[in-house]
């Protein structure tokens, strides 16, 4: 019988340590089938359920493991920026904030995912493909740095019940831009005549908080002929008289509506949730706000509001009768450089963007987001005539003309938007008494300073 001596104990310990060291590569290899994924929490629980289903179905199909963290929107944004700054990154996340696809694409921080997009490229809308190709200032060219998953437009939400209370029908809504929005001024007057002391016709976010005011400005700019403020080659056209004119008309319309009392006074300092709250509180008759969250938020608890009292639609024609190109925001999945399990992340994405998978994913999430593949909106889910919102929303996003957010064309726009240069111009007119022309020139000067940092050849 062998006795355990100090020498033998030390010897055996060393042997065990050596064995463990040699065994490590095997463990590491096994861990290579696990990818880490961060994704923003949904507005409704169904969105998270849909995401978990995609991930779990992929795990079953592949045998790989995905460590999924569903994180509230604002903290996820901070985690992503911190991860990109420190270099300790997960394998996959969504573009939150949306602009990071362009800002960090500029710095060559994303893995090229062209091979993933290629598997379904013919199914994607042109806008979705454009939205995934930011400019890389290191390679001096554009490429697919994001995989489009879902999208959203900024539709018009209307309290049909209030329009009817004012003595009109939804069919009375004018078809051209200014007439359409002016209509709500008249609705306000009629409702106030009936004793509704604090009702406002127009829910314009003339604030310098969040993304809503930027969306509102750009969509109005597009309607007034200023769509080409930045073109898809990344060049800016601030010196184009047509763009300047459109910006002046936009600022004039929004600010005069506010000053004339058709917009809730507190709109000057709303955050992104405040206009939703104000709309739900029947403070205003209409709101221009991204996604169908306004409607989806009330569907479960107030089905009557969803099915009978609210109306959702796309944009009216421009004042000269042409279709208005709407901004289409795209949620992309991105793999940061430094990710340890790129292959697993790419494999998951190839699985996820199969039309039947991504289509089901968006439908399970109650359709707050739109598909980024036009064929998917032919599904009865999107064309259900009993649903007063989805068909119009789908038409606006995937049939009517759209374009990606400007920051994909040039990341300077993300800085301009974060600084709320256009909102400050509105504030200059509303609070400081500046003429719209002066306010626009001041804003264009600031925008030009920012653009100078992002020159694209």
């Amino acid at each position: 019988m062998a006795y355990l001596t100090r020498r033998s104990l030390l010897g055996r310990s060393l042997a065990l340590a050596a064995t463990a060291s040699f065994a490590r590569p095997h463990i590491a290899k096994a861990a290579a089938t696990t990818a880490t994924m961060w994704w923003a929490q949904g507005f409704v629980q169904d969105e998270d359920i849909a995401l978990r289903k995609v991930v779990s179905d992929y795990e079953k199909a592949s045998g790989n493991k995905i460590e999924l963290s569903i994180i509230p929107f604002a903290p996820e944004r901070q985690k992503i920026i911190s991860a990109l700054t420190s270099g300790v990154v997960p394998d996959l996340f969504n573009n939150n904030p949306g602009e990071i696809i362009a800002q960090y694409g500029w710095k060559d921080r994303w893995v090229d995912v062209s091979d993933v997009v290629e598997t379904q490229k013919d199914k994607y809308s042109k806008t979705a493909l454009l939205a995934a190709q930011p400019y890389n200032n290191v390679t001096k060219q554009r490429s697919f740095y994001g995989v489009p998953i879902q999208g959203a437009v900024v539709p018009i939400h209307v309290w049909k019940s209030l329009v009817e209370k004012a003595g009109y029908q939804i069919s009375d809504l004018p078809k051209t831009w200014d007439a359409f929005f002016d209509f709500f001024k008249d609705v306000q007057k009629k409702l106030r005549d009936q004793g509704m002391r604090k009702i406002y016709g127009q829910g314009f976010q003339v604030t310098a908080n969040g993304v809503d005011p930027n969306n509102l400005f750009y969509n109005f700019l597009s309607a007034h002929g200023g769509k080409d403020i930045v073109t898809s080659d990344g060049h800016t056209h601030l010196d184009d008289p047509q763009v300047r004119e459109a910006a002046i008309k936009t600022i004039s319309y929004l600010t005069s509506s506010y000053k004339d009392g058709y917009v809730p006074p507190s709109a000057i300092n709303w955050n992104d949730a405040d206009d939703n709250n104000a709309f739900h509180a029947h403070l205003m008759v209409m709101d221009v706000d991204g996604t169908l969250s306004t409607e989806v938020a009330v569907k479960a608890e107030h089905p009557d509001q969803y099915f009978k009292e609210m109306h959702t639609q796309g944009y009216p024609l421009s004042n000269d009768g042409k279709p208005v190109t709407a901004l289409f925001g795209v949620t992309c999945a991105m793999i940061p450089k430094g990710a340890k399990n790129v292959e697993v992340a790419k494999e998951l994405l190839k699985y996820w963007i199969q039309p039947e998978v991504v289509g089901g994913f968006i439908q399970t999430g109650l359709g707050r987001w739109l598909p980024v593949m036009p064929d998917l909106v032919k599904d009865p889910f999107w064309q259900d005539p009993k649903d007063p919102h989805r068909p119009g929303y789908a038409k606006m996003g995937l049939i009517d003309p759209t374009m990606p957010y400007y920051y994909v064309y040039n990341p300077a726009i993300s800085e301009i938007d974060a600084e709320h240069v256009w909102s400050v111009a509105e504030f200059d007119v509303i609070q400081r008494g500046m003429a719209p022309e002066q306010a626009v020139d001041k804003a264009f000067k600031r925008a030009a300073t920012i653009f100078a940092k992002y020159q694209i050849a």
């Binding site: 901070q78 920026i81 908080n209």
Partner: protein, 305 residues
């Protein structure tokens, strides 16, 4: 060839081994020294990882002079600097003066005072986030609680509290005071309670009561505590992100940002973390003297309350 410094070294008498050993080990002998090291190493490791590294990393992130040029060129920054100074001056001083006065009130004997104190401390106890979001909604011009109350009680339309720079900044300052006043008041109550009763009694015999007692007895005895609290509160308030972010959101038109919220905006909204760090670091010229004064006060304050 030997240089002059080496020649000087050669000329010096060598420090004896025992002296050097005593310098490092003090009076510790044998295993005591090993134990001392064992206890010290975790502390040093924690200090290096959680204090030294973040500070050095922050200094490194904000070390590029170009960041400050970019920061000072940002039109929002100048307003932010003014707001920060106002925020500190008003929020800290009003809060501390009120805390001082109320600490005297709550020293009064009686059950009802104690009950009132419990209620008064509540704002400090509730989570900041939900409190400030509630205040943001309460101040809404159209459907906020405050204006609805004004209309219901007096049939007057209240102001749009968050639409004007000064009203919005004032709202943030009042919210900050409301939230943090109880904390500093409790600290000052503790300071007042530490004043020996015989001093008060003697003063009372000499006819010093009320305001005279406060001016000649209480105030001198808690002056150091008050000053230390004020300095600490200034440092805390400089880093206060929640109040402004959730009450005004930095609006209207970015006019109510303070350095803490501007730093977060630059770091995460504009996705330029180094610029965000630079925004916060730009407060260092104010912070360093404060910390130095505070350290000096703490050294001299030990002889008093």
């Amino acid at each position: 060839m030997m240089n002059s410094a080496s020649a000087i070294d050669i000329g010096r008498p060598a420090i004896p081994w025992e002296t050097r050993r005593h310098f490092w080990r003090g009076e510790l002998k044998g295993s005591e020294y090993t134990w001392a090291l064992a206890f010290l190493v975790p502390y040093i490791a924690v200090f290096l990882i959680f204090v030294a590294y973040p500070v050095v990393y922050g200094l490194w992130m904000g070390s590029d002079a170009g960041l400050y040029r970019q920061l000072f060129a940002d039109p929002i920054y100048q307003n932010t600097a003014v707001n920060t100074v106002l925020y500190l001056a008003l929020a800290v001083n009003v809060k501390m003066v009120l805390a001082l006065l109320l600490s005297g009130f709550f020293m009064r004997p009686g059950r009802w005072t104690q009950a009132l104190l419990m209620i008064f401390v509540l704002p400090w106890a509730i989570p900041a986030l939900s409190a400030f979001i509630s205040i943001h909604w309460m101040l809404n011009g159209e459907w906020g609680f405050l204006n609805n109350l004004l209309y219901t009680l007096f049939h007057i339309d209240g102001a749009y509290w968050l639409n004007d720079r000064w009203l919005a900044l004032g709202s943030a300052i009042v919210s900050h005071i409301w939230k943090w006043l109880p904390f500093w008041m409790v600290i000052l109550i503790a300071g007042r309670m530490a004043i020996p009763l015989d001093i008060r009694d003697t003063a009372k015999v000499d006819g010093a009561t009320g305001v005279r007692s406060f001016v000649h007895i209480t105030l001198p005895l808690i002056a150091n505590l008050y000053l230390t609290c004020t300095l600490l509160s200034t440092i805390f308030t400089l880093g206060d992100f929640n109040t402004v972010y959730f009450v005004t959101g930095g609006g209207p038109a970015n006019l109510t940002h303070v350095l803490a919220t501007l730093g977060i905006r630059d770091a995460f909204d504009i996705a330029q973390p180094r610029l965000g760090v630079a925004a916060v670091m730009s407060a260092l010229p104010l912070m360093i003297p404060l910390v130095l004064v505070l350290m000096r006060r703490l050294r001299t304050a030990e002889v008093q309350l």
